[in-house]
Amino acid sequence: MSGASIVEGFRAAAGKVGAEVVVVDGVDAAIRHVAARAGGAIVCPEFPSGVRWGLADRLRAAGSEVIDGDFRTHAPRAGAGLTGANFAIAATGTVVLESTAEALRLASTLPIRHFVLLDPRKIVADSTAAVPCLRQLHERLPQAFLAYITGPSRTADIERVLTIGVHGPKELHILLCEGLSDDFLES
């Protein structure tokens, strides 16, 4: 699969499971997109590309309320969480987030919306191609919490009717932002 078709495959698969996938032109556009749709305070934990691009400050500058500390207290009331992604898997529309740091897990589980910034250069074709990255992450981290995230939280436990957002985020927004990071080991 070529680069372009991998990205298209990812968009189609992620869209099919209810994720919103948009292409944004640079970090500022990404910030504008998130700020406009957060629906409340934004949990913005530290992650390497986020720190590098100064996301928390930019969100504040865009007028958003940013939660960047004391996450256990504040994350439950937040409108959104913002994280990066280590990489993604086209076949299933999955984003992979190494979220060993607790704040990343809180940001991606508790708020109603989860925004993920993903560099489209970090999309692999399928789970087979994902394994080497997963292994490298395990080698690097003595303790690890790695998450495959595919669409929003869902259940079909009552009469098999698919219902979105039972415990985790009700909305998953994936922002394809080229130039963010090409390192599969960081988010």
Binding site: E102, R105, S127, L134, F145
Partner: protein, 715 residues
Amino acid sequence: MSKQRTRAYKARIDQALATPRLQDTLHRFADAYLLAREAAFAGHDFEALRTGIAAMKDEVRERREEYIARFTRNAKAAGATVYLARTAQEANAYIVSLARQRRVKLVTKSKSMASEETHLNQALEEAGVRVLETDLGEWIIQLAGQRPSHMVMPAIHMSKEEVAELFGKVTGKVEPAEIPHLVQLAREQLRQGYLDADMGISGANLAVAETGGIALVTNEGNARLVTTLPKIHVALVGIEKLVPTLEDAHKVIDVLPKNATGQLSTSYVSWIRGAVPCGDAPKELHIVLLDNGRSALAESPHCRDALRCIKCGACANVCPVYQTVGGHVFGHIYISAIGIILTAFCHGLENAAELVRTCIGCRACVAVCPSKIDLESIILHLREVLGEEEGIGAGKALVFKRIMRNRTLFHTMIRAASLLQKPVTRGERTIRHLPLFFAGLTEWRSLPAIADKPLRDQWPSLPQQVDRPRYRVAFFAGCLNDFVYPELGHDLVRVLNRLGVTVSFPKEQNCCGVPALYSGDRDTATALAGQNVAALLADDPDFVVTTCPTCTMALQRDIKDLLRDHPRWAAKAERLAAITLDVSRFIVEKCDGGQALAGLAAPEKVTYHDSCHLKRGAGVWREPRRLLADSGRELVEMGHADRCCGFGGSYSFTSHPDIARRILGDKVADIAATGAACVAMDCPGCLMQIRGGLDKQGPPVRVAHTITLLAETLA
């Protein structure tokens, strides 16, 4: 004890059958499941995928001590505490004691069948610890005080109205029975639980030896919260969840959601290795590896393949019996086909004693199992074990041991029965009513009468005309063909003669042994196998052909197994298995695709019913369709063509007639919906069942064996 147990079991069946909403729900689910599953596997080679999983799991089973040690070493290195529990009691005691030591007041749980297996909630609550299930389905059944009726969808048996009523008791208000509202209510009610809990308990879908980590495959996201928020995380993991590497883990993850719910992937797969941060300190992670009968299962040569199970629940989804009675009848803690086996090993044979008979033997589960477990064979073996322990019933024992093994006596008795039935047949070929306590048997299907003269007695006067024979075949008729439908033998001879084949009828042939084997009497089945091998190979035929797929399976598969350790018979059984073919495959493969029969029929609209043992036993389903279409008929497919008709031999007569009746009702509806004038099939058992059902409750559709339809074009 066992009579009381059987009465309780029958009462559960009656209750389930009296709940039409349950059948509706499960039927609709089954239909949607099949479509979703097919779409999910599009472009994937299911056979290759499941062969890969089976091989990987078998290797883990063989070297399990090594993998347990490796997993434990790596998990400990990452800061986890690992405890190997030999029994459910040990697992519960460890977790309860930990909860006590840490003064745990509230536990939040994500879905774990292993904890259902050990009755962990009960153990914790007895120790004064409150337990909150957070998986929506698990929470519902916790509130209802029930157990899961499905491995993946625990509350599938409940309606939204019932759920609303349960939730109303929690909130103290009347809650509307609207699903989005109920889901939102669960979100709000359970959210505080995660934050307040002192301990989170999860299961695991995988334990990866390479990393010492576990993986959780979920949709709701509750497992992520359960494993993140409380200070202590306990993962209760059956040792069968071990996989060697991350590649192996992905073999399971690639298949599990597709086969469980028709999803390409679940919303979340969480890979957790070691004591990850929790607040200001590392989390306290305990992994309880649960044996509880799994090692015994690994040591059982007949049953050990069941350890390959990845707990997808597909065997329930496709099971016609499950669709009819649900998991509270067809299950103990684990449900449906795999549930029978796991119950026997995790909860004791006594708890599986009724369940081994619930299976109708249609092999639908075998076809969809992602780990390639021959569930039906294992269930048959457990039936044998139980037959030896509890007996198979005095009546059956008498018939099998004293009568069937003595062919002359057996056949004399059938002949006598043909005379005795005269008062009810009134000289006709169909019994529509039976007197007294047999009446129930013909209430929903008529039954065929035993023929005046069995095929074996008609054979010497059956003319055969073949100028230059290309094959000499022996015909194994089976009891139904011989004594009930002798005309099928005439049809077979007519068709095969036209194709240049002479047919003999070895008179010493006896019952194929399946009724005895399926009832748990292996000794009788073995005795019959020996008799049939001798009879069928006596004249050294080129092939042995059959018109009954259950007999085909007996000759192709069971006799090899039954006679494996008999030095006199083993090689001959192999030979017989190798030359046995059902007649449609014989025609297609050995007689030029049956071209001599093509284009002779009128363009009648015909639909085809796949017999379980023909499609999923012998792997034959294209051949009869091809012969019927080539003959000039218009072939239309019915819905669920390969779903069991509910015959199942003694299943529909003695063990579970009420379930068989419902399954037949489904089949009759599918046939009627096609508008076909005729339904074809290749099994005299299905013929009896479907003809009887259409006769009593369906439209006037003709029911015929394929060989009959082929023969009549030659008239």
